[in-house]
Symmetry: D2
Subunit: 362 residues, 4 copies
């Protein structure tokens, strides 16, 4: 339900306009240095009001650690982190109390639960992802100790697209532009596109790509909890995501086996490597030591500033008017969320991989 | 690990060339009529040797129910089903005992576990999916009582593709051709392509689409266990799958919000419906009563009949020779697997949805 | 780990002297009226400083609901509740920073985690049970709607013991005396005993009994999650508990089958009942509609005001001096905790029982 | 439901008179030597027909490994084990098709599921424990590699009782007598008592004690999954169990803190030990390196050969006649079951303890 993971396990809570949102991490090993600043840095990459192409809401999203850290060190007990809500213009939402916004979760929550906190989308608000980013920051900090790092970036906005071969991109550019794109020229085009969309009171979709480096071979479980299946589920659980692919992805379906197969070889250091990486770093659901690579498709944000036809809870026709302060394109702020979710999955499987072999246990 | 589901829960076991494969279903409600024939029918759609474009292995895949059914009725206790292995040409695999086949799981299992049953890929063999189809048959039988039905089909093989608008397809055609395509003309082209690929000792990928009808609004859980996230994970857990998308999918990222949003209206029967279905039947992770629609990308089968360069466990260069009897394209036999996995996810969430509202519990 | 339950699921967090303790409930049905007052009432039964025979610490244990309740009604989303810590005399604990208090968790946490928050026992403090009582209050409120009620009481302190046949006890007395005993005379003796023990700077153990009324037949799962096994685990998870028995319990082992078996009969209302209740309301792990009855054994509190020999982290001999404000006997304050844990287990199984039969689902 | 454990996880299936019973172990580390003989040895300790004081049913209980073992070694994939049913005198049970045997699960299964396999008690039969013993044999084999061993024994039958201080008992006697008692003289008395009870067509209860040696400090999880809570649940899940206590248990409630506390000291080898072991090897829910010690109370077997009053499904009075071949006292055969359940819990927590500390992971 609101829990993810088997060993490194997170549970989130909170509504957009309630008292607070938060997350409890259960299963983080003891002895990891951790401070609120480590987490705040990641939250600042996600928070609203960063630039002209994101929502203008001003939320500080200041995190507080309630438990699980003592004298700057994790203790192995649950790490609970809370972000109090502020700058809530709940009245912006009174008009949708009895209306179902198109392609939002208003209607489905209404049917499922009978009651709902309609303010700002309540639990279905993307605000909930702040809790994930906080938890992901802990996972990242943990995995850094194992030499594992995460880099997501915006690879497509509308029809503007960077090179599919990420070795040709300059990752140092990513945090240098407000759209988080590793191609400076494409970044400018994307910003311009999003800004135009915004002026037209509309929204646009995009794609976030992610590269994970340093994952040792052996992570992921056979059958249902394959590493890419768990990554896929985690990504698909982010608001507005419509698709996931890894390695060669959908394009790979058009290839022949003789083209698609990744030949093994031994490198000069004696490591077994693959010559190509159509597998995206995962074979049979288990990491093979190559870079893990995947893409996540985000639909255009459902909240637009244009009037739309809809119905109310009684089935009467209603006009939904766009109000509030929203993102014209979600992908720039989705970059840290994708990284966070990836880190949570990898942290869980990194720990799970530690109990696979008797010869490594005694 | 080898378990899927929260309430309707399955656990599979078995290696390709071991004594048997099987599955235990825990959580199927009592009082469902069930026979081995019900399950065998689905298994027959998946089994090898069906046609010239599938592997020529001859396995009867005969299922036996070991428990959980009494006098033709489920009793609420675990339903265990077993398929004994036969026609195992284990010697076909002795050559790969110490070799890693490219883009197979040989290497990753070797690193993860230290030991592995190399015969036929052992646990990583797609043979394991027979157990899923058996379990899925039970889920289908259960959901049929609730008016929910599943129809998957081959929508793409290589570059041959049917209409994206499934309302224009003739689903009655699907089981009429050996490729399981709802467009008879495209089916012929696909069969020809696959047959050519086979003659060239190569393989090709493809896409399976799936439509689920009759799902009531309210299935799926907020946050991590969103219905499409669970479907995505289930699909990505099938051998050879590289991507998943639902509703508008990756194409939807190029749309504007004003184009993508699905307007609500009330139909003549008083039901709240959407005018379009870019949402693919799921909003905020919860079903909205429209058809659920998604696509699954399958890579070309990794086993080809062409020699390939690789390494052995010691890192020495080795030539992997294609032997055995394999599928030139996996999608025709993947159709019942996709349906089975979808049925397992929907069955679980159908049961989970029964405990959401106090007014429906007392 | 820090999570209990399958459908009605709770996760707790927090250390005795950290910023706060709390709990997140996931899976509470929507539509239940709930206020902070409902929860506070139960917390007040558990909080320190109630009487001369409990610890003199003064903690208000004021609960705040952070999420999951909107306009006085649960919404089906996670209910997060937080109690901020106060009146922490952390300096009372500086002397045990490097010492292991006998029969406390200091040593085992030290070995397990390497680091620990030693103040007030950190996570191992019984203070953590406040979070359980808060969650249990919600479970009780839910189950009251189904006519299920919980009554625990102190049945033994040291060698003072009430009648084993609870039909002979006056439950209205329980909250009338500070030891929570349903026999006023025995209550006086218990208070006197505890007060003497306290004056001697020592502690004493006791037994809490619990009766659950109104549980319908059919709750509990075959095999591992039998209702009494789940109740047993929940009770054994409370600090200081050393044993659990239900129905005839340990005494029942001395009986013959012909004496122990509970004969079925049909009562005047047409209900199937049992003439005796050695089964304690549970047969084959499943409730049979009779009262559920069990006992929980609490050891004497480990913190005594008498000097004790021990060792420090380096293995050197150390004298542990009793400091701080502690309970001379834990059972009076354990009564609401036992009820809370029972309510959490029953709530979970009440929901699980709703998906057992197809004829009740369609 | 039918699954136990978090990492070392088992799922059982099967009815007493169905085709087979069995178990799938998921999460056993790869590289453990394992054969059917290893498992059969444990099953032979549990099987019926061993002696004059057990049921005279003759079941070979021959186990077959279906998966997860390759060339005598576990591979990390699910280990599925099956025992085919035989010597089923199902007709012995036709008389109870519509009757509820007193203190059996007939009535509760009837209410919970609507349908049930009444033959031999179906799923509620103690026959199911054979699957647990098979799984426990694997857990024991695994833990033997870590130096952990299990010894259960019959400590009480009716009013005949061995010394509570197990250091005074001779464990080498346990398998030397048919009641599995470590006191030869008491064993004779127990056998005589059981034989008399049997002749009177009645049954009697008893207590099984268990000592686990070699468990390192640090196993068990804070809060809900305390090691003794998990052991308690596992024991309470065995058929006919009515109570569980560890260390000082119920008697400990009568002690003062100053008597009960276990003083720490450093032994000559430099290990931190406790002078007494009222804690039963577990403090704060976590093992402290001392022997783990607990007791399990078994009620008298419900099936007696004496006529009993009951009702049928329609509520009519019915006389239940004792038929079939049953145990007059369950404890001798329960000894290997208690050991098996203990081994399953310890195996799970042994693996869980491997991911607690960052300094042991990198």
């Amino acid at each position: 339900m609101n829990t993810l993971g088997q060993i490194f396990k997170i549970t989130t809570f909170g509504e957009s306009h309630g008292k607070a949102i938060g997350v409890t991490i259960d299963g983080c090993p003891a002895g990891l240095e951790l401070s609120e600043t480590d987490i705040q840095n990641e939250l600042d990459r996600r928070r609203p009001g960063q630039s002209k192409i994101t929502t203008q809401r001003k939320e500080a999203d200041k995190v507080e650690i309630f438990s699980g850290v003592f004298e700057g060190m994790t203790t192995g007990t649950p790490i609970s982190m809370v972000i109090f809500n502020e700058d809530q213009r709940s009245k912006d939402y009174s008009h949708i109390k009895d209306q179902f916004r198109p392609s939002h979760a208003d209607y489905t929550y209404h049917v499922k639960y009978g009651v709902r906190d309609y303010r700002g989308g309540g639990r279905s608000s993307a605000r909930e992802t702040a809790a994930r980013v906080a938890a992901g920051a802990v996972a990242k900090q943990l995995l850094a100790k194992a030499g594992i790092s995460f880099q997501a970036y915006v690879s497509e906005v509308g029809n503007i697209k960077v090179d599919d071969d990420y070795s040709k991109l300059d990752f140092s550019q990513i945090e240098q532009n407000i759209v988080r794109c590793p191609d400076a020229q494409k970044a400018d085009q994307m910003v311009e596109l999003i800004d135009n969309i915004r002026k037209n009171r509309d929204t646009i979709g995009g794609i976030v790509s992610c590269v994970i480096k340093g994952v040792p071979a052996g992570l992921g479980e056979p059958i249902f909890d394959r590493l890419h299946a768990e990554l896929g589920k985690a990504m698909l659980s982010i608001n507005a995501v419509k698709g996931f692919e890894y390695g060669s992805g959908f394009e790979g379906t058009k290839m022949k086996g003789s083209e698609h197969n990744d030949a093994f070889y031994q490198d000069l250091a004696g490591n077994i490597r693959t010559a190509t990486n159509h597998s995206g770093g995962i074979q049979g659901g288990i990491s093979n030591g190559e870079d893990i690579y995947f893409k996540v498709a985000f639909k255009p944000v459902a909240t637009i500033m244009i009037d739309q036809e809809s119905v109310d809870a009684d089935g009467n026709t209603a006009i939904v008017t766009g109000k509030g302060r929203h993102d014209p394109c979600v992908v720039p702020r989705a970059v840290p969320i994708v990284e966070a979710m990836a880190a949570l999955v990898i942290a869980d499987h990194w720990l799970r991989s530690k109990v696979n072999r008797l010869d490594q246990l005694i």
